[in-house]
């Protein structure tokens, strides 16, 4: 028998030892998109590991590839993740295709549901919406909100000029009409200054999330959530007026503002050229860090007494394609995360938001970051897109058809009529509605 050289033997031993030490007896893998809250979750989970000995790994995947990678992974017999932090729209697909573990019977005993904001319960946890059947627990509760150039708004010369032109004080807007005036006032392309940056990109859900506040505020909707009827809702005069208003506002954006996704909107604001920008709150810590007091925040405006804001955020869902023992560990982590004390620490991480109503109302939360009070105000107006299994086809249709309206190749009326027909076809094709 040949002898294994001493150095090789030593290396093998070290490798084996390192492998044993590196791998904890029990560990959890969570998949989430690559952004500040995910880094916060990784940090926070160290407390869970310290308490339980269960190692937690948060794998961050770049946003553009996140959805594709998660559902490709679900194509396997087992998933590499135990918990996926899935977008609110995914829940229908996850629940109806048997990918998300149903939590209905378990969650009532493990988590204090009374502490969770009712709209977060409705849109982030349930499928079908309002059915009481739960497939996720809130992780990141999110909303759209505006960031604005506070220094421009507080400039005495600007204030006098605005007062002279519009007959009222220069202040953050409460209605879309006021918003339009502000965008028009600050729009000075000759000085490379622009009025607003809105979500209008054609990838994933950017244009949908950007259009929704206009759709709902002007009296339209995506359709009837019980009958899945779309015509008469999405192509209603209110919806058309909302889309027309949004398109008119794009006149006050920077070049290329008719096709700006989340990063495009952020760039437009952080490069110092734009007065007001619409985006999700977890993107704002970076702005505060870079611009400090120059940036302020306000709630998405309304129209004639109606205000509605696109919900964002993701919930924890447990994969059905992992062993039962892993599912139990995942439940343990979710229950731990929802505790008041843990939520209290969670909201201290940049971009981490909670659905915990008591915390949302607390001074500690509202004062932790400059945008937190605006975020807490926004939650009561949240609404969401369809979360049915064919959500992605609906989003894709929106990007194409609404995009044509924004590009001017279809009128708002033509676009919404076309979109209503396409949405009904997609929903009927999935067996939803008559």
């Amino acid at each position: 028998m040949q002898r294994i050289p001493g150095c090789v033997s030593l290396m093998l031993s070290v490798c084996l030892w390192a492998g044993t030490v590196g791998a904890s007896d029990s560990s959890l893998t969570i998949w989430w998109a690559q952004w500040p809250p995910a880094a916060g979750l990784q940090e926070l989970s160290k407390d869970f590991t310290a308490e339980t000995g269960i190692d937690v790994q948060v794998h961050q995947i770049a946003w553009p590839a996140y959805q594709d990678q998660v559902f490709l992974e679900y194509g396997n017999k087992t998933t590499a993740f135990d918990i996926v932090v899935g977008d609110s729209q995914w829940i229908g697909r996850g629940a109806s295709k048997g990918l998300y573990l149903e939590l209905t019977d378990w969650i009532g005993d493990a988590v204090d549901l009374a502490q969770i904001h009712p709209l977060a319960q409705r849109y982030l946890m349930e499928y079908p919406t309002g059915s009481g059947r739960i497939f996720a627990a809130p992780c990141e509760t999110d909303a759209l909100g505006f960031v604005y150039r506070r220094d421009w708004f507080e400039d005495a010369t600007e204030q006098a000029a605005f007062q002279a032109k519009y007959g009222r004080a220069l202040a953050t807007p409460d209605t879309w009409t006021e918003f339009r005036d502000l965008a028009e006032f600050f729009h000075r392309p000759q000085d490379k200054r622009y009025g607003a940056a809105l979500l209008s990109g054609r990838g994933y859900d950017s244009i949908t999330m950007g259009f929704q506040p206009f759709l709902w505020a002007f009296g339209g909707s995506w359709g009837d959530r019980d009958s899945f009827a779309v015509r008469g809702h999405l192509d209603s005069p209110g919806a058309t007026a909302g889309l027309k208003f949004m398109i008119d506002l794009l006149e006050f954006t920077a070049p290329g503002g008719t096709n700006a996704d989340y990063s495009g909107v952020l760039d437009a604001f952080t490069n110092g050229s734009t007065a007001m920008a619409l985006n999700y709150f977890p993107f704002y810590p970076g702005i505060v860090e870079g611009m400090g007091d120059q940036a302020g925040f306000f709630v998405v405006p309304g129209h004639e007494g109606t205000r509605a804001i696109s919900l964002g955020g993701q919930g924890f869902s447990i994969s059905t394609k992992v062993a039962e023992s892993q599912q139990l560990l995942a439940k343990r982590f979710i229950a731990w995360f929802q505790q008041q004390s843990v939520q209290q620490k969670w909201i201290t991480y940049p971009g981490a938001f909670t659905a915990n109503t008591a915390l949302l109302q607390s001074a500690a939360f509202r004062e932790a970051y400059p945008f937190n009070a605006t975020f807490a105000q926004s939650l009561d107006y949240l609404r969401d897109f369809w979360n049915v299994p064919v959500y992605n086809e609906l989003l894709a249709a929106n990007s194409r058809v609404l995009g044509e309206a924004l590009d001017g190749s279809k009128t708002p009326q033509e676009a919404l009529e076309r979109l209503a027909v396409e949405h009904e076809m997609i929903l009927r094709g999935a067996g939803l509605g008559q």
Binding site: F71, K97, R202, P255, N259, N392, A396, S399, G408
Partner: protein
């Protein structure tokens, strides 16, 4: 013994080519989903849906425009450059090497670079245009310019390929034919029309066929510059990606891809027949 030598390759071909081809035919008649639940036969439903899907017709039109636009411009530019570079001159090798660089680059990486170059606000192209007082076209967001931008990038990348093949075909024409034409006092235009063009046509035609089949599959640039779901630039491959990976409809995507495959085969057959005729004519001449 002979079979033993060939068997590994045959097995490999069966596994990576033939089996997926046959398996996807079967999938195209099912409701196969990316997350793989309740696989059922749906007959020809996927194919009938395909022909009523406006996205498919639109993607077909966009792809046709892209193929015709890119290949014809690349052919004219590449052949023109080859004609001007066929003679020997100092620095020819260096110039040729420089001209060939774009086609050596990975298309996806080039797509990302060009997206930055063409950016409406901070792209270097618009900065240059502004410096000379020309307007600021929104290359990647204006619906009338998006496809044009993709064409521009593709032409930049693949004209060198046409140049290379054209140059090879021109250099393959025996010099004694030109000498005979010179003795006959044939005009330059006549020499080009009667000798250069017909004798270089078969090889250049092959390059056109290769480029056309490649352009028919255009995906990398679309993904990198405008994304898979932009109506103005959604090629057939981008639509396939959308249906397969975003919508998760594996059965439907298989049906879509088979129709694309049949189209490519049909086009290639027609073109190959034409090339054979060209070669016969060139041989007869």
């Amino acid at each position: 013994m002979k079979v033993g030598f060939v068997a590994p390759v045959l097995v490999l071909l069966l596994c990576v080519n033939i089996f997926p081809l046959c398996y996807s035919i079967w999938l195209s008649f099912t409701n196969a989903d990316l997350v793989g639940v309740d696989l059922q036969s749906v007959g020809v439903l996927n194919y009938s849906f395909l022909f009523s899907d406006p996205r498919y017709a639109e993607a077909l039109r966009t792809t046709a425009l892209f193929v015709v636009g890119s290949v014809s411009v690349e052919l004219v530019l590449g052949y023109g450059l080859a004609l001007s570079l066929r003679d020997r001159f100092r620095g020819k090798a260096v110039l040729l090497t420089l001209l060939l660089i774009p086609m050596m680059m990975p298309p996806a990486v080039m797509g990302v670079y060009w997206k930055l170059i063409l950016d409406g606000s901070y792209g270097i192209l618009n900065q240059l245009l502004a410096a000379v007082g020309i307007g600021q076209p929104q290359w990647t967001t204006d619906p009338d310019l998006k496809l044009l931008s993709l064409l521009l990038i593709d032409v930049w990348m693949w004209t060198p390929f046409m140049l290379l093949i054209s140059l090879a075909s021109l250099n393959a024409i025996p010099s004694y034919i030109y000498e005979a034409a010179a003795i006959d006092r044939a005009s330059r235009w006549r020499v080009f029309r009667r000798i250069t063009l017909p004798m270089s046509a078969p090889l250049v035609g092959l390059a056109v066929l290769l480029r056309a089949t490649d352009a028919l599959k255009q995906f990398d640039l679309v993904m990198a510059v405008t994304g898979a779901n932009d109506g103005a630039t959604q090629t057939l491959s981008a639509l396939l990606y959308q249906v397969m990976f975003r919508d998760g409809k594996v059965g439907m995507a298989s049906a879509y891809s088979y129709v694309v495959l049949i189209l490519v085969i049909a086009l290639a057959s027609v073109f190959l027949r034409y090339l054979t005729q060209l070669q016969r004519r060139a041989g007869a001449a």
